[in-house]
Structure formats: structure tokens, C-alpha cells
């Protein structure tokens, strides 16, 4: 007698023997639908319909929000100061907490056995980036650093020190790299870009203000020399008090060490190539000038 338990068991039996699902068999989960408030009906809802007694309240003629009966209102009496000056020119970075990253990996939306890029994050619907709204990418926030336990090769645009420590403590790798707005728009929506029939552009360097950040090994910048980055990894491990795992012994060493060229937008695709989605072909330029331009 085989006592092998069927996965599902009685529930599967029931499911297989029930009639087909129709609208007549469905009902919402009890407690999920809340009845709407209907004004002007019944003994208590009727009469003044929740509007109060006479005056501007009942008659709906109250003045605008902020009006203080003629006195100079608060929002005008307080003098301006340059807190918001140039706010529309400031680069913004969509936050991504380590908690959310762990969730995305756990439910299978992100694949930790491949490098995690902004394209992967957007495909997994983990973050929403709007390049037209001064978004320059994603920043890794250290909320959930205690729960984080995934070994990943992740590329973000900004990361806090604690987030870097949390990623490296689990044997992962973090890189901060810069994407100019055009490259960013291509990165987050690659397929619509390929359908445009344009050659892949070069990724531009960051502006003068951001160059020191992306050359800083402590911030794991993509322009920083690798030896200094290794030293910074050791220093951070000492600071946060964990043992830095040796990546050269790792089975995923090749994946973890794969990094993009500073001018490259996609892994495996160089600037200057044209991707033909219909025929599944990649076209590469052969003209010297073009090769030189796209290779510089």
C-alpha cells in the first residue's frame, strides 16, 4: 500500500470535483467590501444630510483654504527662504529599501544568480523611475538591513554606507554608477528603445559635481580604481564588525565580478550596435569613424 501523500490532498479532490466557476458561484470575502455612505436617506441621514445648521457650512459657500477672515493668512505672512530654490534642478533618486529587495528576491521577481540592474528592478516592478521628473536612478536605503540575507551583484545610483555593508556582509557586491537622463530612459525601457531603430548611444560621464562621488572607493563608485575599492571593503568590514567573505572562492565569482564599462548601458551590448527585434539580429557598424566614436 503506497502511503504517499498527494500534494494538496483533500483540497485538490474538492477542487477537481466542484462545478465550474461562474458569477453565480462567486462572492467577495466577508469584510472586504464596505458599504458606501449615502447622504440624505433615512431618519438619521436625511434632514440636513450631514451639512450642519445654516451658514456657509450648510450652503457650501466657505472661502478658500487658508483664508483667515481677512487677516493676512499664515501662508502669506511667513517670509520666503530659499529652501525650495532650484528644487526642479536637483537630481532625485527613487528609494529602494533592503527589505523590499529581499522581498522581491524571495517571491522570485528578481534573480540573484544574475547581476541586478535597474532594468531588472523595473522589469520586476520593484521601483518606478520617471526620468522626466528629474529622477537619476535608484538609491539603496538601509531599512531592513538586519533581515537582508541575499548574495547579489547589484548596481544602483546611490547607496548609504549601512546598505553597502549589509550587501557585502552577505557576500554580495554593490556598485554606484551614473546614467545620464537619455541613457536612463533607455535603461528602464529597453524594448521600446530597440524598436526605435537607433544605435545604442554612449553613456555620458557624470557632471563635475558628481565626479568626486563616483570616483570615491568608499562609495563603491564605478569610476574608482578596483584596488582602492577592495581596501574600502576591508575597512568597512572592520568598521561594522563582520568578516568579509572571500569572493574569489565563490562559485558565482564570475557573475559577481561582472561590471559594466563606464560607456556601456547594457550588459553584453556595446554602444553603436543596432538591435533588430523582428529578425533577432544585432547589427554592428564597420565604418572606422563610427567605430572610433562609439569606442571612445
Amino acid at each position: 500500500m503506497s502511503l504517499i501523500k498527494k500534494p494538496g490532498g483533500k483540497a485538490l479532490d474538492v477542487l477537481q470535483n466542484l462545478p465550474r466557476i461562474t458569477l453565480a458561484n462567486l462572492r467577495p470575502e466577508p469584510g472586504s467590501k464596505q458599504k458606501e455612505k449615502r447622504r440624505g436617506r433615512g431618519q438619521y441621514g436625511g434632514n440636513r444630510s450631514g451639512r450642519g445648521h445654516k451658514g456657509e457650512r450648510q450652503r457650501g459657500t466657505r472661502p478658500r483654504l487658508g483664508f483667515e477672515g481677512g487677516a493676512t493668512p499664515f501662508y502669506l505672512i511667513i517670509p520666503k527662504y530659499g529652501y525650495n530654490e532650484g528644487h526642479s534642478r536637483r537630481p532625485q533618486y527613487q528609494p529602494l529599501s533592503l527589505k523590499r529587495l529581499q522581498y522581491l528576491i524571495d517571491v522570485g521577481r528578481l534573480d540573484p544568480s544574475q547581476p541586478i540592474d535597474l532594468t531588472q528592478l523595473v522589469n520586476a516592478r520593484g521601483v518606478t523611475i520617471q526620468p522626466q521628473k528629474r529622477d537619476f536612478g535608484v538609491q539603496l536605503v538601509d531599512e531592513g538591513a538586519e533581515l537582508f540575507s541575499a548574495k547579489i551583484n547589484i548596481e544602483v545610483q546611490r547607496a548609504s554606507e549601512a546598505a553597502i555593508a549589509a550587501v557585502e556582509r552577505n557576500g554580495g557586491v554593490l556598485t554606484n554608477s551614473f546614467y545620464d537622463p537619455i541613457s536612463l530612459a533607455i535603461l528602464i525601457k529597453p524594448v521600446p528603445f530597440f524598436l526605435r531603430g537607433q544605435p545604442i548611444p554612449k553613456r555620458m560621464h557624470p557632471g563635475e559635481e558628481m565626479v568626486p562621488f563616483y570616483m570615491d572607493p568608499c562609495a563603491r563608485g564605478y569610476l574608482a580604481p578596483p584596488e582602492q575599492v577592495q581596501q574600502a571593503r576591508l575597512a568597512l568590514a572592520k568598521k561594522y564588525g563582520y568578516v568579509l567573505p572571500d569572493l574569489s572562492r565563490d562559485e558565482l565569482f564570475h557573475m559577481l565580478s561582472s561590471r559594466k564599462d563606464p560607456r556601456q548601458i547594457f550588459f553584453g551590448l556595446s554602444p553603436g550596435w543596432v538591435v533588430n527585434m523582428a529578425d533577432r539580429k544585432i547589427l554592428k557598424p564597420t565604418d572606422e569613424k563610427l567605430v572610433q566614436y562609439y569606442g571612445s
Binding site: 485538490l12 477542487l15 477537481q16 470535483n17 466542484l18 462545478p19 465550474r20 522570485g108 521577481r109 534573480d111 544568480s113 522589469n123 520586476a124 524594448v191 530597440f194 524598436l195 526605435r196 531603430g197 537607433q198 544605435p199 555620458m204 560621464h205 563635475e208 565626479v211 568626486p212 570616483m215 569610476l223 553603436g272 543596432v274 533588430n276 527585434m277 523582428a278 529578425d279 539580429k281 547589427l283 557598424p285 565604418d287 569613424k289 563610427l290 566614436y293
Partner: protein, 228 residues
């Protein structure tokens, strides 16, 4: 009849789809809840490229809108239909003139890393020099401070003394005037001023007499020993 259909439907969840979606064979993970194997994957939206019936605008006819005769639209058609659009792929890349313009723009608006680093270093040096000069100035001024404080204190005490002296002198004169005239004289009146002038004259005479006497004494004393 319903059962086999349902069996197929439930079966699909535990099998993987074949053609379109990317199969990711995951290594089973052993966690506190048992062995977990991922079965569901990301299914991207199907790309509707419409390769069977591509739209190719008639370049010669007048009825085709202008925007369908542009290079940009040609590139989009190639991107969408591929070789079936009938466009020479060599036109997708920029021409020589356009390439030169692009290189020129880049040279102007996107300086190389070396140039940027140089600018940064120059700027930082300037800032550091400014800061150093400021700190030097502050240090030198602070070094002068004890002396300046002592000077000020000394001056303050001196002015105080002077004021006290003035006051005593004035009080004396007032007392003199009171004695002489018999009533409190207003210091601003002409009588008082005349009296002050007289007092000063008398004082001067006294001084002169004193000086003469001193001179005579001095003249007397050296002569006396010289004589002896």
C-alpha cells in the same frame, strides 16, 4: 468532463511554460518551511510586431503625409519590422556631417574625465588657499588680541583717572569761588571764569617763584662744593 479540464489547469501551475517566457531553472532552496522551488516566472508582455503585414509608405505618391517620408520614421519602421521594411540598415547610423556635429557637441558639452578632474583639483586648491589665508589672518589677529585687550584696559583706567582728576579740580575751583564770592557761582558765568583766570595766574606766579628758588639753590650748592 469538468475534472480533466481542471486537472490540466492545476497542472499548468506546477509545470513551466514552453516557448515565450524565459525558463529559469532555479536550484531548490531549503528553508525553514521546507524545500522551495520557484515555479512562476516573470512573463513580459507579448510584443506585437505585425510582421506579416508591414506598412511601407509610398515615397513617390503625394498623398503620403510628410512625416512618413522622414528618416526618423524610416528608422522606426526598421526597428519595428526589421528587414521586412525594406530599409538599408546603413542609413540607421549618423552620416559623416552629423557625426562631426555630434563629436563637436560632445567636446563642448561633455568634457573628458581628465579635464573635469583637473578643474576639480584647481577649484579645490583655490578653496584651500582661501581657507588657509583666512585662517592665517584669524590666527595673526588672535595673537595680537592680548596686547590689544591690555591696551584697551589701560586706556579705560587712564580715562577714568583723568575724569576723576577733572572732577576734583572743578570741585576745588567751585569751592574757591564759593569762598570768595560767598554763594554758589554758576561755573558757566563770566565771574567764575574771571576767578578761574586769576587763580591760574597766581598758580603760575607761584610756580615761577619756586623755579627761581630751585635754580638759586642749585646754583648755590654746586658752587659751594666747588669752592671747597
Amino acid at each position: 468532463m469538468a475534472a480533466p479540464v481542471l486537472a490540466v489547469r492545476t497542472g499548468i501551475l506546477f509545470r513551466s511554460f514552453k516557448t515565450f517566457t524565459t525558463l529559469k531553472p532555479f536550484i531548490p532552496v531549503i528553508s525553514q518551511y521546507g524545500v522551495l522551488t520557484q515555479t512562476a516566472n516573470y512573463h513580459p508582455k507579448p510584443l506585437k510586431l505585425n510582421l506579416k503585414d508591414p506598412y511601407i509608405p509610398d515615397k513617390t505618391s503625394e498623398k503620403t503625409p510628410e512625416w512618413q517620408l522622414t528618416e526618423k520614421f524610416d528608422r522606426k519602421r526598421y526597428g519595428r519590422y526589421g528587414d521586412a521594411s525594406g530599409i538599408d540598415p546603413a542609413t540607421l547610423w549618423p552620416t559623416d556631417e552629423k557625426l562631426e556635429a555630434m563629436i563637436k557637441d560632445e567636446a563642448e558639452w561633455h568634457p573628458t574625465l581628465e579635464v573635469m578632474l583637473k578643474n576639480i583639483s584647481i577649484r579645490e586648491e583655490e578653496e584651500a588657499a582661501k581657507r588657509r589665508a583666512k585662517e592665517k589672518l584669524i590666527a595673526s589677529n588672535m595673537a595680537k588680541m592680548p596686547k590689544m585687550v591690555a591696551d584697551w584696559r589701560r586706556e579705560r583706567s587712564e580715562t577714568k583717572k583723568k575724569m576723576a582728576e577733572e572732577k576734583t579740580r572743578k570741585d576745588k575751583l567751585l569751592a574757591e569761588a564759593r569762598e570768595r564770592f560767598g554763594y554758589a557761582v554758576d561755573p558757566r558765568s563770566s565771574k567764575f571764569l574771571e576767578m578761574v583766570a586769576e587763580v591760574e595766574k597766581e598758580q603760575k606766579k607761584k610756580k615761577k617763584l619756586l623755579k627761581r628758588r630751585e635754580k638759586e639753590e642749585q646754583a648755590a650748592t654746586p658752587l659751594a662744593p666747588a669752592d671747597e
